[in-house]
Symmetry: C2
Subunit: 459 residues, 2 copies
Amino acid sequence: MKVAKFGGSSVASGEKFKQVAKIVTSDPERRIVVVSAPGKRFSEDTKMTDLLIALAAKVQLGEDYMNEFGQIVDRYREIVTELEMSTDILSDIMANLQSIIDIHKHDSFRLLDCIKASGEDNNAKLMAAYFNHLGHEAYYVNPKEAGIFVTDEPGHARVLPHSYQEIEKLKERTGILVVPGFFGYSENGNMVTFSRGGSDITGSILAAGVKAALYENFTDVDSIYSVDPRIVKNPKEVKEVTYREMRELSYGGFSVFHDEALEPVYKLGIPVCVKNTNNPSAPGTFIVPKRKYSDTPVVGIAGDTGFCNIHVSKYLLNRELGFGRRLLQILEDEGISYEHTPSGIDNISVIMREHQLTPEKEERVFSRIQTELEVDELFIERDLALIMVVGEGMNSSVGIAAKATEALARADVNLEMINQGSSEVSMMFGVKSEVVPKAVEALYNAYFNNVYSISYTNS
Amino acid sequence: MKVAKFGGSSVASGEKFKQVAKIVTSDPERRIVVVSAPGKRFSEDTKMTDLLIALAAKVQLGEDYMNEFGQIVDRYREIVTELEMSTDILSDIMANLQSIIDIHKHDSFRLLDCIKASGEDNNAKLMAAYFNHLGHEAYYVNPKEAGIFVTDEPGHARVLPHSYQEIEKLKERTGILVVPGFFGYSENGNMVTFSRGGSDITGSILAAGVKAALYENFTDVDSIYSVDPRIVKNPKEVKEVTYREMRELSYGGFSVFHDEALEPVYKLGIPVCVKNTNNPSAPGTFIVPKRKYSDTPVVGIAGDTGFCNIHVSKYLLNRELGFGRRLLQILEDEGISYEHTPSGIDNISVIMREHQLTPEKEERVFSRIQTELEVDELFIERDLALIMVVGEGMNSSVGIAAKATEALARADVNLEMINQGSSEVSMMFGVKSEVVPKAVEALYNAYFNNVYSISYTNS
């Protein structure tokens, strides 16, 4: 049994629905289909999810929302018309939307969450109806019916462990089961969404629940690339990547696959294949528990911006038991999570995602560090980026660091930070945001094109 | 006014006392002299401090201690005889030792501390008497009289801030003032020692108190070397080093100067000169607030062993607010201080000095990490060393990291960890202990002999 998830661009139009149906019905093992809400059909197009957010905003403001409501229904209508299906289903969709508005209009947080989830939900109904229209046995399966139970944290739901036994029962059902992505149900019956991009999570949970042979993740690229194609033209395709490598690449800014989504399949060792809906015969990228590292020790290079660094120093700091712990406690009290804490003897840097540090939080954090820790020096460095060189094969390989630092020096990239050694899967470099493209390109050329090589000369 | 401190080997014999007197009297600015206890005269010799520890041990056990007592007095007697001084002073020394024993024999902790401190104390009395014997105006000044007040933590005393006003009054006195190093007095009148090597601390406190023009630290080497001479033969002498660089080098294993000792003079910007008692005309090494970095961006390479690394990993660890803080709390609860915490996305390494981790503490720490943090993976890596490349001039210098990693790769040194970026003064590499000599040598050759150089070839 395979679980196939189709992303927003794969279900953006009637034409795409036809392609999905062709893919699903071409392999009888493809029994569970997870769909996103309709995505963009062209680069200036608006995603269904954004139309829904606009609708929720109008409802919250108590303003007339018929225009936004109409746009949403029109978007589904176009798909139905393109597929030459009966428009009866549109009344169901309209009734569903209206009932969400009526129930939640006084709870703007819940309203937004349920309206967003309806994008996937109604699209799954449409997809199931299209399979039926083509004469296939297929069913829309609501996440509650499927057994996807989650914590009641709208926008951050986490699957509850007992879901998996429930989901396993889907194996007994016949036909194609179409499940909307992006949300589950809390114990007290609320629709609750995962974080954005969470349809990947739904697919992964279902694949784990039914112990699928393969979790196929259909998107709009032939494969995952070893580097961002906007930085390096025609980069090398990644044929195989391990879960751990994928997680590091996602963290480093690879957006093709939602990183939290790997957890359920990772635990069971279920392989994932990222494929192109528009070119399903291309082999795609396999995400697997283990791969052969010999030919490609490094699998990819990622770079992500939006970090900052709070730097503190204090003479004889390293003699103070509890200094680091108290520093982290101050951040925790403000709900700020940090990424890394490289340290010297008398100084610590705390690297974090910059957006977390609102001006108010920054002021409170700085004032507490100053008064409670009595530091000699305290400053913030903004506009930092982290660049990750990822590959399980580089573990304890002499010279890997030399290759990277040499390539970066050659490209005249100044290193704010090097972090290597804790993770066996990656090496991390902190640089100023503006040098990310040249740094990433230099590293790509070093590892994938062998452009620079060290030669040793005695002088 | 200069403060001149003479280390153990500089006051180990009558011959050395003569040398010290010659140095002190050759410059009328040398007004405050700090002495250690007599050190080794030859490599198999026993230091006075170790004789005193042996005496304290016998007293504590309630055993006959006349043999140990006799050895100590004999050691002073040899000096007195060599200097052709009256032996009257030996009675004072014997009475002093006996009174410490009588007062503290039932408090073994305090006994050890006071007996150890007597090594410096009696040697200072001897030195002052020798100056008088030569016809110079000189006075033994007890630390209480000098105004060195400290916290009541035997073996770890810290100077109390009001000491400095007291010490400043020494400027009004005439003659040469000889002060014993290594200890001060608590508010309730106890002799309390600094950590071992603490005579450097006494000198620094006195230099800060009298706002000396220079703090001279006389030892048995011509200068501080850029690398351990046991690893690299005839290494480059360091002419100038900043306080911050010196602290990093001390941390990295340079033992020539007690690192805590720099704090008092650092705060006032008083320069320190490390000189050789046996070759006082050599310029020595100046420790200064700032230096010119242009010709020597890297000032020294140090390597220290005895570290270990506790490694934890957990899937999606970086989403858990407070994980790092709770990990550090567990260590703090056991009184374990850590050095560095390099981290990946889903893992953290905590690097600490290995001796802290007794088998019992290790067991408790591991069990708490496992149960409270529910980690996926937990292990300890032993026999680690930290190698530091130190130099203020390497701050934001492109290619410094490349030079180091290239040299290490060339020497076939596998890097367990790289830590660069928090400190502007150093770059740190974690390696297995057994490769320290070859790693240090490779780095020395790269920075000081330019043995390896990077050349770039397109292939």
